[in-house]
Amino acid sequence: MKKLVSTAFASFALFCLSTAALAAPPIKIGALFAVTGPASFLGEPERNTAQMVVDEINKTGGIKGRKLELITYDTGGDATKAVQLANKLVKNDQVVAIIGPSTTGDSMAIIPVVEKAQIPLISCAAGSKITEPVKKWVFKTAQNDGLAVARIYEQLKKEKKTKVALLTVSDGFGSSGREQLKAQAANFGIQILSDDTYGPKDTDMTAQLAKIRGSQAQAVICWGTNPGPAVIARNAKQLGLTIPLYMSHGVSSKKFIELAGDAAEGIRLPSGKVLVADLLPKSEKQRASLLAFIKDYQNHFKAEGDHFGGHAWDAVMLLKGAIERGGDTPAGIRNALESTRNFAGIGGVFSYSAKDHAGLSKDAFTLVEVRKKDWVLVK
């Protein structure tokens, strides 16, 4: 009897030891998203998506048998808080990499923290200054505004339209777009005839549009986020403006069509491919990723997956690839990230290099047109 008990003990102890040896500690990844506050429309889908992807990876056995542990904090879109939380992730949680933050402001604020701690950061914000100039430990997944501008100008050049009128919103998004529109015009042989702005809370833009109607402009490019562009679309219809109206990727959601109603017909805009995933040709590299993301998001959250969630999807998947190839040390992950080539994600096809930590080309955007309250691809 005594022998039996001791055997049982011994085998139990052995069992414990073996499982401990099998279950290696999880790989800790930090995430900072603006889940509350003014940028919550970015942070919420990003957090949802990141957690969804990490759960999925763990369900299918993790990375080389090791699970991922995602430690998420909410920055509230506040740069000071973002810095505190980044320090916490680095010092207390000892993560090997960080994804997020959601906004350019938060990202810029925590860059010194990750550079000093030598932890790779994959930002989900769009500002081009995050990776220009290149910082050793900083990468990003959201498309630069400049790429969207290039996509519009390319189309105008193809149609031999050289005179445009600008109408941009007077906030961060609008002024960044305006800078890019002005800086790139000469490269495409485009002449900017008028450069007007409107306030984010303005309710009537007929004055600006009437001025544009009286000019020689062959197209209007409007840069803003809802509701301004929807008001402009309605005002343009009211004035009977006949020249084509281009919007920015800031309104590339069904919400814009809903707000602008009939006035949205014929409006064109550059958009990430997630919006038109089902329209893309079979040969499209991103197709598989896009459809997988949309289906997963729909199953988990009963809502349409958008670009913002896509930025987090890309960040986690890029990180997964980097850990598989480079191991679980911060330096190994960084080097593997930098050598990532032709990763077809949601935001585009990423190819990082020592000189480019944004990784996308203007093909990340596709030009769509509103027809019958839905998107069609512009050929």
Partner: protein, 294 residues
């Protein structure tokens, strides 16, 4: 000729926007005249008008006219509750304290609407189509006619009420001298409540009729409130023609400024005018010194 067409368009657009400012300005003036306070929650009444109409239309599935009535009635009830709960209990508060309370109330209302209905902008369908109407080389929408029509009705209604009914006259009496009014048997408290009722109703009505054009969200009240306040200041805080003209002038100048000078200075133009009037003619553009208010 092209320039003339453009200017006509600027003026017509400006008048349409100005009519909205005028309506909101009127609702500012009504409360100011009976209580001496500036109700900074006025913009929130405007927002509630639009948001509640969309809610009644989409969620409660009411027809448009019923949705509008519901929105105006509910906003009015909120106005009454606001006066009863936040203004009346403070018997001897200074106007400054009351003004700060109204700012607090506006933040509260905005926050609650944000939590209840989210941050998304929503659009209300136009009352009678969106086919543009051509007027002297310029275009406007049927909704603009609704705005002009409702503004005229409200102004005429206010005029009749304040000059030809006992209650209206009593309210004017309170504005001249509350103590004397009290002595002749007018319940000043009730008149203050009345002023909140009228002001909330007018404000929400403004919010309803502009929602098809400008769309609405939990935070539209701030800027509209400020512009309406400008209009009321231009009219010398009277609830008559002065405020209406103030609103129309403000709207037209904004539109002309954006079209002819630079769209970047549109709001600057409005607030520059406000400052100028406060410096040069604090009693308003159309007033001769201290005369009647209301």
């Amino acid at each position: 000729m092209e320039l003339l067409n453009q200017v006509t368009q600027f003026v017509i657009s400006g008048l349409a926007t100005g009519a909205i400012y005028a309506l909101i300005g009127l609702s500012f003036a009504i409360i100011f005249n009976s209580t001496g306070i500036i109700n900074f929650a006025q913009g929130e009444f405007v927002m509630l008008g639009g948001v509640l109409t969309i809610f009644s239309l989409n969620v409660l599935q009411l027809p448009l006219p019923a949705a509008i009535v519901t929105a105006v009635v509910v906003t009015t009830i909120i106005g009454i509750a606001f006066e009863r709960l936040a203004i009346r209990p403070l018997k001897n508060a200074t106007p400054l304290a009351l003004i700060i309370i109204t700012i607090g109330a506006s933040i509260l209302i905005r926050g609650m609407v944000m939590l209840l209905w989210g941050k998304d902008t929503q659009a209300l369908p136009a009352f009678s189509g969106t086919d543009p109407i051509s007027v002297a080389g310029a275009t406007l929408l049927p909704q603009h006619l609704w705005i002009f029509g409702v503004t005229v009705l409200v102004i005429v209604g206010c005029r009749l009420f304040f000059h030809h009914t006992i209650s209206g006259k009593a309210m004017r009496a309170c504005s001249f001298n509350p103590r004397a009014a009290n002595l002749v048997g007018i319940s000043v408290g009730r008149m203050v409540l009345f002023s909140f009722v009228i002001s909330a109703a007018v404000g929400s009505l403004a919010g309803v009729i502009i929602a098809p054009l400008t769309m609405t969200a939990y935070d539209v009240g701030v800027m509209l409130g400020l512009k309406g306040f400008c209009a009321a200041i231009m009219g010398g805080m009277g609830s008559g023609l002065g405020t209406v003209l103030g609103g129309l002038i403000l709207g037209t100048l904004e539109s002309l400024g954006a079209g002819l000078i630079s769209s970047g200075y549109k709001d600057a133009i409005a607030f520059f005018i406000l400052l100028l009037i406060l410096f040069i003619r604090p009693q308003g553009l159309f007033k001769k010194g201290e005369t009647e208010r209301v």
